[in-house]
């Protein structure tokens, strides 16, 4: 049980009166890659955004229920501290256009006014970019702005930026849906390497991706968590009819 890093119990979320996440209970273990899949509007992205408390930034958005990081309730913690511990990578790569690559990686420190010695900051930049498999490609242009990077490289820069904060968990919101196939596979390769140090929760529209990269998969449908199981099991012999229908393409 000490291996459970994120757990939810009867967790609900609304947009105004719209009940989009219904009584979700799940236990996610450390150092695993979890895929979250389901048709459009099933609540998977909303649930993801509740974990790092981005959901509440939308006016009228509310949440209720238990959602824990280790033993602490996320919704009683300081939201800023939650986001230090749980990082996020978005669908469209969004490096800061006015910052250099170096500053982008340590943006979490600089923008927050977290004082770090130069030597240590250099170290963080190199380590994060290496973990994101980007170091060799940019090590000579660290002080240039990242506008010349390709989509896949920009996304890896965003991953480096999230890693630099040394989070426990990294959330991915359809991280490769805006990328070409080559960039996609370079990012998927990363998931495999990152799970040694982090827990990854990846919302994806792409079933094949879920099957490729994850240890366990969660299937959301109409706001409910329908099934959560080992990926191999989920894709060969799902327990729920709805999961079966989704996997075989009866609806998307």
């Amino acid at each position: 049980m000490e291996h459970t890093v994120v757990s939810a119990s009867k967790f609900n979320a609304w947009f105004g009166d719209n009940h989009v996440v219904k009584d979700v209970s799940i236990k996610i273990e450390k150092n695993q890659v979890i895929a979250v899949m389901g048709p459009s509007g099933c609540g998977k992205t909303t649930f993801l955004r509740c974990i790092n408390r981005m959901h509440e930034l939308i006016p009228g958005a509310t949440a209720k229920g238990s959602l824990k990081l280790y033993a602490d309730e996320i919704y009683t913690m300081n939201p800023i501290y939650v986001r230090y511990k749980i990082g996020m990578v978005f669908q469209r790569p969004n490096p800061f256009p006015n910052l250099s690559i170096y500053d982008n990686v340590v943006a979490g420190y600089k923008l927050n006014g977290l004082k770090v010695a130069k030597a240590e900051m250099d170290n963080i930049v190199e380590k994060s970019l290496t973990s994101a498999a980007l170091w060799n490609e940019v090590k000579d242009s660290l002080h240039k702005k990242g506008t010349f990077l390709s989509g896949g490289q920009q996304q890896r820069l965003c991953i480096a930026r999230a890693i630099a904060m040394e989070p426990e968990v990294i959330l991915f919101d359809e991280p490769t849906s805006a990328l070409d196939p080559i960039s996609t596979s370079s990012v998927e390769q990363l998931f495999h390497e990152l799970k040694a140090n982090y827990t990854l929760i990846i919302v994806t529209h792409n079933m094949q991706q879920a099957a490729r990269v994850s240890d366990k998969t969660a299937f959301f449908y109409l706001g409910e968590l329908v099934e959560f199981d080992e990926t191999k099991q989920m894709f060969t012999a799902p327990k729920d009819n709805r999961t079966q229908n989704y996997i075989t393409g009866r609806f998307s």
């Binding site: 986001r83 230090y84 256009p97 006015n98 943006a107 923008l111 904060m165």
Partner: protein
């Protein structure tokens, strides 16, 4: 049938000719005015002109140093007042577009944009000049600041609305608090648009006379005291142009030349900046 089509085509061509004529003929008055001001004014400008106060009636020579310094001080003070308020209000309007405050505040920005400048002068007279008991540069600056606000607010609001939401999201997800997201990410990314709004508003108020008539009032001497009357370029031009003395007319031409060059250069510079930075964004 062909004859009818021919007539219709001719009409169309004639109309186009008329439109082009009317559209371009209007550039003539502008060119005439600009050239005249330049012709009359450029000869007046020399070192002596820039560094001396106007000579008393009857004496030749003199300059407009009091107006130059005065304009500089008044415009700077107006900017110090209006820029922070304008940017912050613009941020609020772009970040919270659906609140009641945003609606009424936006309405007030529209109202302020249409208020005649002389009315602003009247009001600030009662707000500042009367209580202080004297005309003052600071009252002039307050009046001009009120006129700067709508321009700064609208350009800030529009610039920020064009920035993608993902920028804010990226920063927030790193645990950056809201105020730092705005101040260290959003504003730097919108810098070009905000800056051009500021420069346009400065160009606008640098040439305003009416709000200063009963606030800064004017001063024949060089003064840097902000709680006392102060001269400014537009005020000097107004007073000296309408006087009966040729020497004073010459001073007014020189001052007009300088004011015109400043306003035009600022406008051109603003256009260059928006063009250059927009390409990169």
């Amino acid at each position: 049938m062909d004859a009818r089509i021919g007539i219709r085509n001719t009409k169309s061509v004639l109309f186009k000719g008329l439109i082009i004529f009317l559209a371009f003929i209007i550039t003539i008055p502008l060119i005439i005015i600009l050239l005249y001001i330049i012709k009359q004014g450029v000869l007046q400008v020399n070192w002596h002109f820039l560094t001396n106060v106007p000579a008393p009636v009857g004496e030749t020579g003199g300059g407009i140093s009091n107006a130059l310094v005065g304009s500089l001080i008044i415009v700077t003070m107006s900017s110090i007042i209006a820029i922070p308020v304008g940017i912050l209000a613009g941020i609020y309007l772009s970040e919270n577009p659906h609140t009641k405050l945003a609606y009424y505040s936006g309405l007030c920005v529209d109202i302020l944009q249409g208020v005649p400048s002389i009315v602003v002068g009247i009001v600030v007279y009662f707000w500042v000049v009367k209580p202080l008991g004297t005309f003052s540069a600071i009252s002039g600056s307050i009046a001009l600041a009120i006129m700067m606000l709508p321009i700064v607010i609208r350009s800030t609001e529009q610039t920020l609305k064009l920035l993608p939401d993902t920028l804010k999201e990226a920063a927030l997800s790193l645990g950056v608090p809201y105020h730092r997201v705005i101040l260290k990410v959003i504003i730097p990314c919108g810098f070009a648009g905000i800056l051009s709004g500021i420069m346009l508003s400065v160009a606008r108020i640098a040439g305003e006379t009416a709000p200063l008539l009963f606030t800064a009032f004017g001063n024949p001497y060089l003064s840097t005291a902000i709680t006392k009357p102060m001269q400014s370029l537009p005020l000097l031009i107004f007073n000296y142009a309408t006087s009966p003395y040729d020497d004073w007319h010459n001073l007014a031409w020189g001052a007009s030349f300088i004011l015109l060059m400043f306003v035009l250069l600022l406008n051109i510079f603003t256009k260059l900046i928006t063009r250059k930075w927009n390409i990169q964004l």
